[in-house]
């Protein structure tokens, strides 16, 4: 009998405590923001879309090897002696033409493992997160700055260089 009434009493008192809490929260300003008119300021170490600065890339393939999902594809062509590709920003001389540098963002898992091995720090993560596309093929970003004719031209020059060297060797023999 006593339990009957104490049940009723605890029911009312706990319900009343809960109601007081929600009533208090009616007057607390909201913690949500109205995206997309208001955007959050992202911290500096934020890991979103990758960016590659092709002027600094020496084509060493370290980032492609470090990637766990194989989303970076790199193809390079050796430069012929006498070609001047310029220097990177920390003074290294570049020796490879980077003909293909594709990153497939549909596969990228934003783990940041490609950023650390880069010797020139040319690949890094920006804070861009609004890059959705309707078509999955558009998510393959091509960073290489050479046009198709230039790539063909570099390959032909390399072939000619090797052929001349072979001809030289045969000639000397």
């Amino acid at each position: 009998m006593k339990e009957y009434f104490s049940n009723i009493f605890t029911a009312f008192s706990t319900v009343w405590t809960g109601m007081k809490i929600t009533f208090k929260h009616l007057f607390i300003p909201s913690v949500t923001i109205q995206y997309p008119e208001v955007r959050l300021q992202l911290p500096e170490r934020e890991r979103n879309r990758l960016y590659v600065n092709m002027d600094d890339c020496i084509g060493c393939d370290q980032c492609a090897r470090a990637c766990p999902v194989n989303c970076i594809s790199i193809e390079t062509v050796k430069s012929v002696p006498g070609d001047d590709l310029g220097k990177t920003s920390n003074g290294k001389k570049k020796a490879l033409w980077v003909t293909r540098f594709d990153i497939d963002f549909a596969k990228c898992c934003y783990c940041q493992l490609c950023v650390f091995p880069c010797p020139t720090e040319c690949i890094y993560m920006t804070d861009v997160y609004e890059f959705s596309e309707f078509d999955r093929d558009k998510l393959i970003y091509e960073f290489s700055t050479l046009t198709k004719e230039e790539k063909r031209e570099k390959l032909e020059r390399l072939d000619r260089h090797y052929n001349e060297r072979e001809a030289d060797k045969l000639g000397r023999m």
Partner: protein, 383 residues
């Protein structure tokens, strides 16, 4: 014509009671992930529950055989996506033991801080979603508001909110942000009254206690026979926590208690106990974080990271205390740059097995109560 004995034919034409099979399919608002439960009912009482898993299998263990040791870490993140730090810590401690390297003290302290913050975040999700299953929609939003602050702390340190790739073999990927200590202390100060508010709103509410007390009682010997660990075991009354009974990292240096279920609202080991043990664990984690912040040593976080990770051939089994139980990694190395085998002992996998035992004799509405109190994550179960 079938040759059956006379007794069998008589039995077949006798009256049978109907047994209904109810399917809580892979898509359901309350199973935490893609889990299929096949419930056999007799009237409203349950006679058998069969869980069907495998809807989230992503071949983690096979992938691990093809990656190098550092490349496995993003994959371990994605198993138990609500407690990623612990997945990384378990794997990394195992590989470090194989390599026989010692990490600096600062790295250990930061790992403990990140781990305990992750424990609080994971328990907030478990408690909030449990409230929604029971029907109280408001504590869910309060829990997630607090969890946002923790995820912000993680974001300023390593750049990601949920899948971190922060704990590396031999150290960490980034040192703490200069604002981290100040923001964490603010968070601790704001969070203590919020736990009290959560208790007043949900834990001590009579309706909540009526829904969860004496439901799904897990007896001690059943728990030990099945191999259940973590808060589910502690709620049944046993004081077993890997941070105190098999310490790893620097947990011996801190002073904290292990909450054990006492049956305050019903019997020992019911759903309310499992829920309440998690609330108390959050409070204890706050104590550990405070002590770690006070005694954080200086040092270099990257000095012990080897250039090329090639452990000598051998095997090792490490275990850490996940928010859901004992997470174990069994790593076999054959001397090359890829591990030969990485096997994971997921705590939710073991905890899901007790569903059948616990649900017998209860009503259908209790299935969701019991499932929510066990706190499973399908990513861990299916890997």
């Amino acid at each position: 014509m079938s040759f059956e004995s006379k007794e069998n034919i008589e039995n077949k034409s006798a009256v049978r009671t109907e047994e209904m099979v109810l399917n809580m399919g892979p898509q359901h608002p309350s199973t935490h992930g893609v889990l299929r439960l096949e419930i056999t009912l007799e009237g409203e009482l349950i006679t058998k529950v069969t869980p069907h898993i495998g809807y989230l299998h992503r071949c983690f263990e096979k992938h691990a055989e093809a990656m190098t040791y550092p490349q496995v870490i993003p994959y371990t993140d994605r198993m138990d996506y609500l407690a990623s730090m612990y997945n990384e810590i378990g794997y990394v401690i195992g590989v470090e033991k194989l390599l026989k390297i010692e990490v600096p003290d600062r790295v250990e302290y930061i790992r403990v801080i990140m781990g305990e913050l992750q424990r609080i975040a994971s328990h907030l999700v478990a408690l909030g979603t449990y409230g929604v299953d029971i029907g109280a929609f408001t504590p869910f939003l309060y829990c997630f508001r607090d969890r946002e602050k923790i995820l912000h702390l993680f974001e300023i340190t390593c750049g990601a909110r949920l899948l971190y790739n922060y704990i590396w073999i031999g150290g960490l990927s980034h040192d703490l942000h200069p604002d981290f200590v100040r923001l964490t202390r603010e968070f601790i100060k704001d969070f203590k009254p919020n736990i009290k508010e959560l208790n007043n709103l949900l834990s001590y509410n009579k309706i909540f206690i009526d829904r969860t007390a004496n439901v799904g009682i897990l007896p001690v010997d059943t728990a030990i026979n099945f191999g259940v660990t973590g808060p589910n075991l502690r709620a049944s009354g046993i004081n077993w926590d890997l941070r105190k009974d098999d310490p790893y990292s620097v947990y011996q240096k801190f002073d904290y208690e292990i909450p054990v279920g006492e049956g305050k609202a019903g019997t020992v080991g019911d759903s309310w106990d499992r829920y309440y043990v998690r609330v108390r664990e959050m409070e204890e984690s706050l104590k550990i974080i405070e002590q770690a912040l006070d005694t954080l040593p200086d040092g270099d976080i990257a000095s012990a990271i080897p250039k090329r990770i090639k452990p000598p051939a051998g095997m090792i089994y490490t275990r850490v205390e996940n928010p859901r139980g004992e997470l174990g990694y069994f790593i076999i190395s054959d001397g090359s740059i890829n591990p030969f085998r990485v096997k994971v002992r997921a705590p939710s996998f073991v905890s899901l097995q007790i569903m059948d035992e616990l649900c017998r004799g209860h009503l259908v509405a209790d299935v969701i109560t019991i499932l929510g109190s066990i706190d499973i994550v399908l990513g861990e179960i299916d890997r």
